[in-house]
């Protein structure tokens, strides 16, 4: 049984990797297994966690859960062509709630917090020793403020990027590009360790070639 599980895992691992060469039956088989098993996995998980865990175990204490269930049921009316349009109601409910929730969340966490965090002194004086920030710190603070400011200029929709405004927008896109480059470089490392883990499985756990 242990041998079987090991070979099965290895077979599927290689099947996925074979996609890098080209699409082939081995990959198709792995993909078909993956889709079937994982869809089943999620039906089961959602069934036990949400339907049983949240609804069935909870409705005695919280009768309002039936509203959720009713909305869910309306969803199923899609299967009846004549009154299928009723299934738009739960959708409308979800869209409304999502919009309302995210509007406030983004206002608070993305706008207010980020603006607040940018308001930092460019330099400050120590109690006795004059400026206590070195030139490096001053430049860094300036870079942050200028970068945030010009980055926002870039996102302006209602003004053409011309003249001084266009110049600022251009500086802004420079900053955004540096940001993208930096986060790309930063992620490369963690991506490699995933592959190392798989290689270790194939060459170590499976074939026992490495320690």
């Amino acid at each position: 049984m242990e041998h079987f599980a090991l070979w099965l895992s290895a077979f599927l691992t290689l099947g996925i990797l074979s996609f890098l060469y080209k699409d082939n039956p081995w990959y198709k088989l792995s993909e078909a297994i993956f889709v079937g098993i994982s869809a089943g996995f999620w039906v089961v998980t959602l069934f036990w966690d949400n339907l049983v865990g949240k609804f069935w175990d909870g409705w005695q204490d919280e009768p309002m859960l039936f509203v959720g269930a009713a909305l869910g049921f309306l969803m199923l009316l899609r299967l009846v062509p004549k009154i299928g349009w009723i299934s738009r109601w739960p959708l409308a409910f979800i869209v409304g709630a999502t919009s309302g929730l995210w509007l406030m969340n983004y206002l608070a966490s993305n706008i207010m917090v980020q603006v607040m965090a940018t308001i930092q002194p460019l330099f400050s004086t120590g109690y006795a020793s004059g400026f206590d920030a070195g030139w490096g710190a001053i430049i860094s603070s300036l870079v942050i403020v200028v970068g945030t400011f010009t980055g926002l200029v870039y996102f302006f929709f209602s003004k053409e990027h011309k003249g001084a405004f266009g110049g600022a927008a251009r500086v802004g896109i420079f900053f955004i590009m540096i940001t993208f480059g930096a986060s790309f470089g930063y992620t490369v490392m963690s991506r490699m360790s995933l592959l190392i883990g798989r290689m270790d499985f194939l060459l170590g756990d499976w074939l026992g070639m490495i320690g």
Partner: protein, 224 residues
Amino acid sequence: MRQQIPLLITFIVGTLLIVSVFIPPFGDLETTFNIWFDIIAVFAFFLGGGNLLRVHINKLRKRKRDWGFSIVTILGFSVMLIAGLFKIGNPGDIASAVDAPGSLFYDIFNSVQYPLSATMYSLLAFFVASASYRAFRAKNREATLLLIAAFIILLGRTPFGVMLTGWIPDSTSLLQIPNLAIWIMNSPNLAGQRAIMIGIGLGVISMSLRLILGIERSYLGGDK
């Protein structure tokens, strides 16, 4: 009517959730919504799972290209369903957690789904390399900046970056690549991130308002 009712529901629910932030007695609405959403999602799953089965059964019946793989998908789906819903092989029978160690569900997850998922994820290592090769070219000023930033960060995290600029005296140690990498992460990168995040915040507000006010309705009753 068919258009008005959904728009009205969206408007009322959206407004209610915005206002609830300021009215303590409505404070639980968010939690309530999340639970309702989860329940609706399960019902929707009957449609999704049903659709998955229908597509593959159709493929099988019409002997479309690759229909053999559809059998595998249907089989996998059914096996997982039966194993999970009836909790086959679970040590504590039906009362135990569905993914208790020792159950069939748990074993299939570990020797099938986990390696598949981890390997698919690890494909990123290859794609990161091919994307770097193809896309990081100094085509123009923007691309050059992207390239340089990525290059410095990458170098700064390898021993070569340390070796390359180790000779730079400590007085200008910022120019040593590892330090430069840290500076880029903490200054220009931070600035760019903030601009993007504030922009996103405003985009979400505007988008949500359009939806709540019914200006944007292409997803529901269509634009006339």
